[in-house]
């Protein structure tokens, strides 16, 4: 049975093209849905919130979009167990909507992806993220191997997880820290963390494991042609690298 994935477009979204393309190349039945037609979202089985600057990042990144009528549908769907993946600005929206870490009611954000450290400006840099939970803890990561390393690009000005120390303990202790920044060989240290994100956090998952928010972009290092170290003779158009997460997502949507 075909399960349909909506790539939700807000005014200011800018990563819908690669997100949609990768979902389709990974076998997903995906299409774009506009903010001007929120009711259409109800008929979809899963949602992807792509990167960008929804509503110009006014107030805080993701803060306005979290209150867009389109998010009524996404929140309702998430609460009914639909899968939701947010990347970069999409991750910020999920955090602002309170869907991750999801320890408080919807639209009551408990943490923030805020201005990068040490210097608060936009940084574009290639990174790796490491799966920091058991793959089965989150439906979207179920097909990944334990401690999977995924290449991605960080490209944001507000990607640093910030919360009270108590809440950070709750996030880590409750298994919400889905991905951490790492080196290509899996080592985790401060140099791998591009923006001083608390606990090296690159991604958060909710308690139920159906909503995943990831700050860096795996969809921008997701075909062989994207990789600078691609093996000679590899088909440049074959999805790989960052595509592993999307494959796992598409498999979960179909399951």
């Amino acid at each position: 049975m075909s399960a349909r994935i909506a790539v939700v477009l807000f005014p200011g979204t800018n990563s819908e093209d690669e997100t949609l393309r990768l979902l389709r190349d990974c076998g997903g039945d995906a299409e774009l849905v506009h903010w001007s037609r929120p009711a259409e979202l109800r008929d979809f089985d899963a949602y992807v919130l792509p990167g960008g600057f929804a509503y110009e990042d006014r107030i805080r990144a993701g803060a306005i979009a979290a209150h867009d009528p389109a998010m009524d549908e996404v929140i309702a769907g998430a609460q009914r167990g639909k899968l939701v993946l947010g990347i970069c600005n999409g991750a910020q929206i999920l955090l602002e909507a309170g869907l991750v870490p999801g320890t408080a009611p919807a639209r009551r954000p408990t943490a923030a992806f805020t201005h990068n450290g040490p210097i608060p400006h936009f940084v574009c840099r290639h990174v790796y993220v490491k799966l920091a939970i058991d793959p089965s803890r989150c439906a979207i990561t179920r097909a990944l191997s334990p401690a999977a390393i995924i290449p991605a690009w960080t490209a944001n000005g507000e990607g640093r997880l910030a919360a009270t120390p108590e809440h950070l303990d709750e996030i880590a202790g409750g298994g919400h820290l889905a991905f951490v920044y790492a080196h290509a060989d899996g080592r985790v240290d401060a140099r791998a963390n591009p923006n001083e994100s608390a606990r090296g956090c690159a991604g958060l998952v909710n308690r139920e494991g159906n909503v995943l928010a990831l700050m860096p972009h795996p969809e921008r290092d997701a075909w062989n042609f994207n990789h600078l170290d691609r093996p000679a003779g590899a088909d440049p158009l074959t999805p790989s690298g960052g595509a592993e997460l999307f494959r796992s997502f598409v498999a979960a949507v179909r399951a």
Partner: protein, 744 residues
């Protein structure tokens, strides 16, 4: 005599006003004066440059569309039975960026993106060649400009979701009073879906649909402003001439326009579509109509405005950003309006932004503007938009040639390595990463080689296709100061070598000519010499210019002009991105070759500046270059080029070092052992790691290229030459750090 005080800010000369009055047979209205002022400005008319630019080659087998519309188009290749083209535009936003650098640089991106978009293309990349003054002093205006311009480019380009693929930056006292913020943009279009910047056949009676931001008083007088020298006394007035960027609205406007393209194609409609740039609604509508052989009739009361009570000339020629104009058949217009205003909710995205019909195309070739029931402009449209020409006198520019005795020219052997750290740390050689890491390099997910990883950025722009496009820029101002003609030649040669170094075939050029005051014969002579140089180099290399831009009056109030700055971008095409040469040395023991006629001249080089050497600028050796480009092309098609770096700023030894740095960045801790002299001369050439030495040597013979084996890739992470060695990590440190103070 027209009372000029009644039209403040008009830059028309007396003889031009006289010409208008004679043609109209009456006094021109205020609106007309402003309209001619914009339309006849250097910025719009190229009146003092056009006849020189005619010398540039603009035709060739790769040219789909040469100069003349908003952008040019280079043929990329075929995929799925369709031909694809790369849309190319190049502009400057120098004057605005000197006055208000953040907004000036941001609107530079905003404007160029519209030039590409209106050809029916998806915008796929931008690139920024930048020239700033001395930034050493933390409190200097120069540092403020250098920082804010970069922040403006980042803010705009990142928000609209277009990757920054290439660019360069120089810091030189010659730009203390006039920075250069040039911008290149690329788009991708199926060649049978190109939209033109003119009203098509049988368009009389069609709607003129204005789309985008509400017109406001910002950017009034912009075209004339950039056609004058900057004067500190007018700085406040100039600030008002700079437009206000809105990348958020542009993001939505671009996406809505892609949707409109699709809707029009479904209906088989060929529209006219043009960006509103210099001269605002008037300039755009007049050119859209006139270039199709029509006139236009516009009602300024229909324009969506941001504030009430604006004077008609402000609505007509103000350069509010984020606007485009369609010529559409009236039965199609409502569907297009619906896409912009309802599906993409423009009126909710920005105050009073929308698509709105403001007038129509007319059979009669008159240009008419109405305001509050009165006709405020009524002129022959061809007179308004027609070619005007200023033949200004110029003094031929001679290249610098030192006395024979003043030329210490021996190539450096063992003594080169101790100088390498200093050259790598030179402000024009060191890593640009602190600057470009603020730009999104990979949005759209089509990036094959991101900016900064190799000599050119590479994209795979056609979904599902292996076709690749490469982009690089060049233009060394230190060469420009010494020899405008050779500097222009080197800009073409270097840009072409840079795209060749990633395995692309140089396929087309675009230029931005940044010079001083054309009314100063010496400064104008530099411009003429540079055009000669561009024409020569492009002709020798068989390349055509498909678009370009001229920015004159880059002169400070003291009458000092910027160094001659012919800045060139080269577009390269790749048949299969799997053949792209990836950055960095690959295999220990592999041979390293030097290609290139190592001309002895060092004028304009980093080493000449560091050592205080007065020398001539090297002349490219075209026969050698053609042979090297042919060799590189064949060798990369056969897959035997493992790594390649073009020799440019810092010379061959820096090219070797950068190839080692690229390997380290990719996690391969390799070094180099050099057994041939390898110095800092900057004449074009290449450093290569070769996978099959015998085959490469045979190809070199066939192509007539001189390939010199200079050493080998080493397992040890050091660069060793003439008994000296340096750790790659330490060299990389020297190279990475210098700009971090400016761009922390």
């Amino acid at each position: 005599m027209v009372d000029q005080r009644s039209a403040p800010g008009v830059a028309l000369r007396d003889d031009e006003v006289r010409r208008i009055r004679e043609r109209l047979g009456r006094e021109p209205s205020i609106v007309e004066l402003h309209a001619f002022d914009a339309q006849w400005s250097e910025h719009c008319s190229y009146k003092s440059s056009r006849h020189h630019l005619k010398r540039l080659p603009t035709q060739g087998p790769d040219v789909v569309l040469g100069p003349g519309e908003d952008s040019g188009i280079v043929h990329l290749g075929e995929h799925g039975g369709r031909r694809y083209g790369v849309v190319v535009a190049h502009e400057s936003h120098n004057h605005p960026s000197q006055v208000v650098p953040f907004e000036g640089a941001a609107t530079g991106i905003g404007g160029i993106v519209r030039d590409v978009l209106c050809m029916g293309a998806e915008v796929i990349a931008v690139a920024d060649p930048l020239r700033f003054g001395r930034v050493e002093h933390p409190e200097s205006h120069q540092r403020y400009v250098a920082r804010s311009a970069v922040d403006g480019i980042a803010a705009y380009g990142n928000a609209i979701g277009v990757p920054n693929l290439a660019g360069d930056a120089y810091f030189d006292e010659g730009f203390d009073d006039n920075c250069l913020v040039n911008v290149v943009a690329l788009g991708i279009v199926a060649e049978d879906e190109i939209v033109h910047s003119f009203a098509p056949e049988n368009a009389a009676g069609w709607d003129l649909l204005l789309v985008g931001k509400a017109t406001d008083p910002s950017g009034f007088g912009g075209a004339s402003f950039s056609s004058l020298s900057l004067d500190a006394a007018d700085e406040q007035a100039n600030k008002g001439a700079v437009q206000v960027p809105d990348p958020f609205l542009k993001n939505v406007l671009m996406r809505a326009t892609y949707r409109v393209f699709a809707a029009l194609r479904e209906r088989g409609i060929v529209p006219g579509f043009k960006d509103l740039g210099a001269g605002g609604i008037m300039g755009c509508s007049a050119e859209l109509a006139a270039s199709g052989g029509y006139g236009a009739d516009i009602n300024l009361d229909e324009v969506n405005v941001a504030v009430e009570g604006m004077a008609p000339e402000v609505i007509a020629v103000g350069e509010t950003q984020e606007r485009l104009l369609w010529a559409l058949p009236p039965d199609v217009t409502p569907a297009v309006v619906r896409i912009y205003n309802e599906e993409f909710t423009l009126p909710q995205v920005a105050f009073n932004a929308r698509a709105t019909i403001v007038g129509r195309i007319t059979e009669e070739k008159k240009y008419v503007l109405r305001h509050r029931g009165r006709i405020v402009m009524d002129v022959d449209v061809d007179f308004l938009t027609g070619a005007i020409r200023d033949e200004l006198p110029y003094q031929p520019a001679e290249g610098f040639a030192p006395a024979e005795a003043a030329r210490p020219r021996a190539d450096l052997g063992a003594e080169a390595l101790p100088l390498l750290e200093r050259v790598l740390a030179h402000r024009d050689v060191c890593s640009r990463e602190p600057l470009y890491r603020r730009y999104d390099a990979v949005v759209r997910g089509a990036t094959v080689i991101p900016r900064g990883y190799a000599d050119a950025g590479v994209l795979a722009p056609v979904r599902g296709s292996r076709l690749g496009v490469a982009l690089a820029v060049a233009g060394n101002p230190r060469c420009g100061r010494l020899d405008p003609r050779r500097a222009a030649e080197l800009a073409v040669a270097t840009a072409a070598c840079r795209v060749a170094a990633v395995g692309a075939r140089p396929a087309g050029l675009t230029d931005c000519l940044n010079f001083g005051n054309p009314r100063n014969p010496a400064q104008y002579g530099e411009f003429v010499a540079a055009v000669d140089g561009l024409a020569r180099a492009a002709g020798e290399l068989g390349l055509a210019f498909v678009s370009g831009n001229v920015s004159l009056y880059n002169e400070s109030e003291s009458g000092k002009a910027i160094p001659a700055s012919a800045i060139v971008a080269c577009i390269g095409t790749i048949g299969d991105v799997a053949r792209t040469i990836t950055p960095g040395f690959k295999r220990p023991g592999a041979p390293i070759f030097l290609l290139g006629n190592r001309a002895p001249e060092r004028g304009g080089s980093a080493i000449a500046e560091l050592l205080g050497i007065d020398d001539a600028v090297p002349a490219p050796s075209y026969a050698a270059l053609r042979a090297e480009l042919a060799l590189l092309r064949r060798a990369s098609e056969e897959g035997i080029v493992a790594a390649c770096t073009a020799i440019a700023g810092g010379g061959a030894l820096v090219a070797v070092a950068k190839t080692a740095f690229a390997a380290h960045r990719a996690g391969r801790r390799l070094g180099v052992t050099l057994d041939q002299p390898c110095g800092f001369h900057e004449a074009p050439g290449f450093v290569l790691e070769v996978a099959d030495e015998a085959r490469f040597a045979a190809l070199a013979r066939e192509c007539g290229a001189v390939a010199r084996r200079a050493g080998a890739v080493a397992e040890m992470p050091c660069i060793a030459a003439g008994g000296e060695r340096r750790e790659v990590d330490e060299l990389m440190d020297c190279w990475s750090r210098p700009l971090e103070e400016i761009y922390p």
